[in-house]
């Protein structure tokens, strides 16, 4: 079985982003970038499927400027077999990514496509579902367990009320939630090996995809800051404040 994994280059999750003073966007100059944490979980799941003998090949794809090859290399070091970068300087919305991914899917014909549930920069939570719609594939979003058997994939999903399990015909789309697995660290020898793994570069034009967006970013602002509160010295003082000052209990 062939598995396709989509990985996004995003700001490192430990970094608190700042808004540019002209309010046009956030400031990403000299900010540490990394593979989106949910995509790392997606790569890990594919690697585990390969270790179980379920998957035979893992192809990892990323759309964006040349720098996103770093994240493809990270995925290769974690165990993916080859990479595809769709090179573009344009800002991509989820629909554009989904269309590019469909073009790659049509060429690669994988049996399972794994994405993160959400990119931690845009916080969109759209791409996997959009890709599934464009290809007509079933989807198991927010997955905390994935089992492949008998031509189907069973996905346990984290939903607001608890957990839900669905059975999907293959090929299928899975988007990862945090509890799906705990990604491994890449070893130094694997990082070295990853440098020699194949990495193809294509453009949206090669794939015949228009990446225009119908959404314009007008302004980016910092959120309202909470004014600093106080430290209370005792439980009694806390109860007194909650009752008489905040009046919330």
């Amino acid at each position: 079985m062939k598995v396709l994994v989509a990985v996004k280059r995003v700001i490192d999750y430990n970094v608190k982003v700042r808004v540019k003073s002209d309010n046009t966007d956030v400031d990403l100059t000299n900010v540490k970038m990394a593979i989106n944490p949910f995509c790392e979980i997606a790569v890990e799941e594919a690697v585990r499927l390969k270790e179980q003998g379920v998957a035979s090949e893992i192809v990892v794809v990323s759309m964006g400027p040349k720098a996103c090859q770093e994240q493809i290399r990270t995925a290769l070091a974690l165990g993916a077999d080859r990479g595809i970068q769709v090179e573009t300087e344009d800002k991509l919305d989820s629909l554009a990514v989904a269309k590019l991914l469909k073009a790659v899917y049509d060429e690669e014909k994988p049996d399972l496509v794994i994405l993160g549930k959400q990119a931690i920069d845009s916080d969109n939570n759209q791409t996997g579902q959009m890709f599934a719609a464009l290809t007509g594939l079933p989807q198991g979003t927010f997955a905390s367990e994935v089992k492949v058997a008998d031509g189907k994939v069973s996905v346990t999903r984290e939903i607001d009320g608890g957990l839900q399990t669905v059975a999907l015909n293959l090929p299928a789309v899975v988007t990862t939630d945090l509890r799906l697995n705990e990604p491994r660290y890449a070893s130094l020898p694997n990082i070295m090996k990853a440098k020699r793994k194949p990495l193809d570069v294509k453009t949206p034009a090669d794939l015949g995809v228009e990446v225009a967006s119908s959404v314009t970013l007008l302004k980016v602002e910092a959120p309202a800051e909470r004014s600093a509160g106080i430290k209370v010295g005792s439980v009694d003082e806390l109860v007194e404040k909650l009752k008489n000052e905040a009046k919330v209990i």
Partner: protein, 309 residues
């Protein structure tokens, strides 16, 4: 302008999240129709028809929609949605699952998790775990949008008298099947709707220790939440996670116990009116957003607090 709102429900009753979506729809302006898709969901349709500001309720009652499978539901909404200027759903796991599929089938971008309506085509939404607020404008012919429930007042449950109309063919994509679910059962209020939330983090140490939080919550009539670390460690189930990638809450009072205050956690609770933090580390970042901070061992402070409120 006319707006289609996807009702959130369990085939028995309308979820309060839908009331906030109706308010967002009213802020956009125009007729507001509500789609109730499910199986044996007549009672939900009746309820939706009572909601203030709703013009029409569309009911698609079919086994294919019984479990809100996105593959089926998206085909229905796409068929019905073509005549509307906007299609809205709650930014719940149901809305997030199905709406991007609808957007893709309509070949339009989606705007996720809006917190304000500036005009019929311009909206505000948080990005980067709420560390920035983007104002975005959409030129899409149909605007497909999910709505953050805590950012809008709830429409009144009564006062409306919408007509109820059966619609839609049965769309069964035939690619997915519901197998089962494990739903959390609790007598406490729902996290997203509670006026008071008490949350525990890794500092709780284990699942049994959450009992001391449950006691406090019951005394306060509160819901109980958790940090990702507490969920990952298996102390409590996933549906209790508050944060960027869990549930968003904005109660009158949020009590964070043994939670350090990572940006991903703050993203889910910093719109709360009053925040209390109980943590033994006086340097913990949670104190930077807390109205009242108590530096103390939670195993002493929480039982004492339960005794005194």
């Amino acid at each position: 302008m006319s707006i289609l709102v996807l009702a959130e429900h369990d085939n028995a009753s309308l979820n309060a999240a839908t009331l906030a979506v109706v308010s967002a729809a009213k802020a956009i302006g125009g007729d507001v129709d509500v789609l109730v898709a499910g199986e044996g969901c007549g009672a939900v349709a009746e309820q939706a028809a009572q909601v203030d500001g709703v013009s029409k309720v569309l009911v698609a009652d079919n086994a294919a929609y019984g479990h809100q499978l996105a593959e089926n539901l998206s085909l229905l909404i796409t068929e019905l949605g073509k005549g509307y200027s906007h299609i809205l759903a709650a930014a719940s796991t149901t809305g997030k699952n199905v709406l991007p599929r609808v957007a893709a089938l309509l070949d339009v971008d989606q705007i996720s998790d809006i917190i304000a309506v500036e005009s019929a085509d311009t909206f505000k939404r948080p990005i980067y775990a709420g560390n920035a607020i983007a104002t975005v404008q959409s030129s899409a012919p149909v605007k497909v949008i999910t709505v953050r429930g805590t950012a809008f007042d709830k429409a009144a449950e009564t006062g409306g008298s919408a007509s109820v109309e059966q619609v839609g063919a049965a769309h069964d994509a035939g690619t997915s099947a519901f197998v089962g679910e494990e739903l959390a059962k609790s007598d406490r209020p729902e996290l997203a709707a509670a006026g008071i939330v008490v949350s525990g983090g890794r500092g709780m140490g284990n699942g049994e220790n959450f009992e001391i939080l449950y006691s406090l919550a019951d005394k306060l009539g509160a819901a109980v939440g958790a940090s990702r670390a507490a969920v990952d460690a298996g102390f409590v189930p996933n549906d209790m996670q508050v944060g960027q990638t869990g549930k968003i809450v904005a109660p009158e009072l949020y009590v964070a116990v043994g939670i350090s205050g990572a940006i991903q956690h703050l993203a889910g609770m910093k719109e709360s009116k009053i925040i209390v933090a109980i943590n033994k580390d006086e340097e913990a970042p949670i104190f930077q957003v807390a109205d009242y901070g108590l530096v103390a061992d939670l195993f002493e402070a929480v039982p004492e607090l339960t005794g005194k409120v």
